[in-house]
Amino acid sequence: MRLFLQELVTGITTGALYGLVALGFSMVYGVLKLLNFAHGDLYMVGAYIGFFVIQWFGGAAHVNIPVPLLLVIMFVLAAVLVGGLGVAMERFAYRPLRDAGRIAPLITAIGISFFLENSALLLFGSQFREYNTPEFISLSSGIQVGLVTIDSVQIMVIVLALALMLGLRLVVNRTRLGRQMRAVAGDREAAEMLGINVNFTIAATFFLGAALAGMAGVMAGLLFNQVTNTIGFIAGLKAFTAAVVGGIGSLPGAVLGGFVIGLAEAFITGYVSSTYTNLLVFGLLIVVMLARPSGLLGRAQLQKV
């Protein structure tokens, strides 16, 4: 029972992270039909921003402001700066290629991924940067659920990730910007004819998706303690998989896909063996895709013939 609960907590925590990154992937695909392979690198940039904020305020062992305030600054700064980077990426790399078919923006996305990864290498070096979270948030703080302790960082990550997912759902379903995003995703030309500022809407989509990835990067830093210039690749790959499994373009699907992968990884590691985790997780995903090619919550596209 203890193993089950522990793997459940682990699966939910990592699943929430995957889901958060997958949301940005899915949003951009929904609006532009673009697979933004640089999305994982935005997560990496967010993780670096969190690290430098900690250093700025005295370092992990000597944080000189209240820890809750430090966390707020880390998340807000990561969201704003990475969101801004997402907007810049759209403005200078993707917008000129908006009508150039699907392959050119895809190759550009890979190029941006290389660019961000290598820029981080040049700027910050290739050594691991460590958050050292236990230095300012005690591992013993948290709650006891049965035989399992859920520490305060895990609680914060789960609660914040779920709040951000719900917040995004509200923005998309209940606000003017959300309506515009859905209109642009449905038919960009028709939306433009109806007076919607398409450029602004797409930029806002990039901002929101990138901001979520940036905050996910800070959460990963707090949970796993280490940042390098290459951490975005694995995160991006897992998020892309989550988005596809959930049904790419579907926001609830991205969240569901994230949790499916996170939980599958945790339970396979716990009950089978870590040796087979990737093999079985991706085998399971192939089965899901064969059974539902458009993903768990994706809708099959109708085409005129």
């Binding site: 193993l3 522990q6 793997e7 907590v9 682990t10 699966g11 925590t13 990592t14 697979l35 392979f37 699907r102 392959i103 895809l106 190759i107 996305a109 890979i110 991924s113 290389f114 990864e117 290598n118 290498l121 040049l122 290739s126 050594q127 691991f128 460590e130 236990p134 591992l139 399992v148 302790t149 520490d151 990963a220 949970l223 796993f224 303690n225 280490q226 390098t228 210039n229 290459t230 951490i231 690749f233 694995i234 991006g236 790959l237 892309f240 596809v244 990884e265 945790a266 590691t269 716990g270 063996s273 870590s274 040796t275 990737n278 090619p293 596209q301």
Partner: protein, 389 residues
Amino acid sequence: MKGRLIIAVAALGSLAVAGCASSSSGSSTSSAGGGGSSSAAATACNTSIGFMGPITGPAAPVGGDQLHFAELAVQTDNAANHTNIKLVQGDTQLNPAQATTVSQEFISNTSIVGVIGPAGSQEVKAVGPAMGRAGLTFISGSATNPTLTTGPNPTFFRVVSKDSVQGPQDANYIINNLHPKAIMIVDDQEVYSTGLVSSMIPVFQQAGIKVDHESVSQKTTDFSALVAKVTSQTSVVVLPWQLAVNAQQFGRDLQQQHKSAVIFGTDGLFDPKSFTISGSYVSTFGPDITGIPADAAIVAEATSKYGAFSTFGPPTFAATHVMDEAISSVCKAGQTPSRSNVLAAVKSTNEATSILGQPITFDANGDMVNAKFFLFKIDSAGKYHLIPS
């Protein structure tokens, strides 16, 4: 159909990015000189030796220590032997491709009669055959893979032990001193790690210990699902890994889940800056020379010049000293140092004592005779303490 095509192209793209991620090693800062001929005069004993190590990149702390101790040895030996040996630096970044580039520069530089390094076994494998063809002697202070001295690298020597010694030695220590009923052993899917695991598991099984063999990628950063599998009977988790930050995170996950198992790491985890989990054990091929009275002068000079140092430095001092003495003996015999006579002199090395606290001689394969591993325990302040053998 179109959508599937896009997904397929995307998958190919992700593989391309993966390739980038795994090979982004940055640029070389090798300062290996070019050209030059062997103009050394026997009486003056002027010559050059190369240094190959990860001066930059993720393993820079290792390469930095190795370079410092190589420089210290050259300076000390030049003064003692009245030689004029110059050290030419080459940065390998612990990357076999980069090591190959540096080795080609050294091979084409005819003033270089011997090389110190490289640091990693994978680098030795990459450069060994070419160095052998060039007759260029190279001595490593940290490459421990057993296969390096089984034939393909005829001019290779090392002043450290090998993993086929480390694995069983560590396993026997665990069995005889920690008395576990069950252990978990986790490889990181790299040659270094899987080799050590293969040499340790049979020893545990012979002793009747239950073994849970797990495997995670070196790129994994979340170990909580794996740590959940550590049972109350599992009192030792063996991590033959190369990334100390990963072991640190594994240890934090153990603490977070209130697991009492201790971590036992191999030499790849010997990093007092990054791996500080209290109660853990780490084995390494270099002794703690601060505890060897005869090394007091070297310790004082190294500390005053470079500050604190790890156990990676002293073996490189020993390797450089072997090379310096070989060159000096050639000069004393009235010859001009060349690659062939330096190779012969290194082969006949017979040092009664060394910085490592033991004699240095080589067997026919280039392995140091009676080389061993040293074991350290980490205290609650994160400090490493040598366990007397």
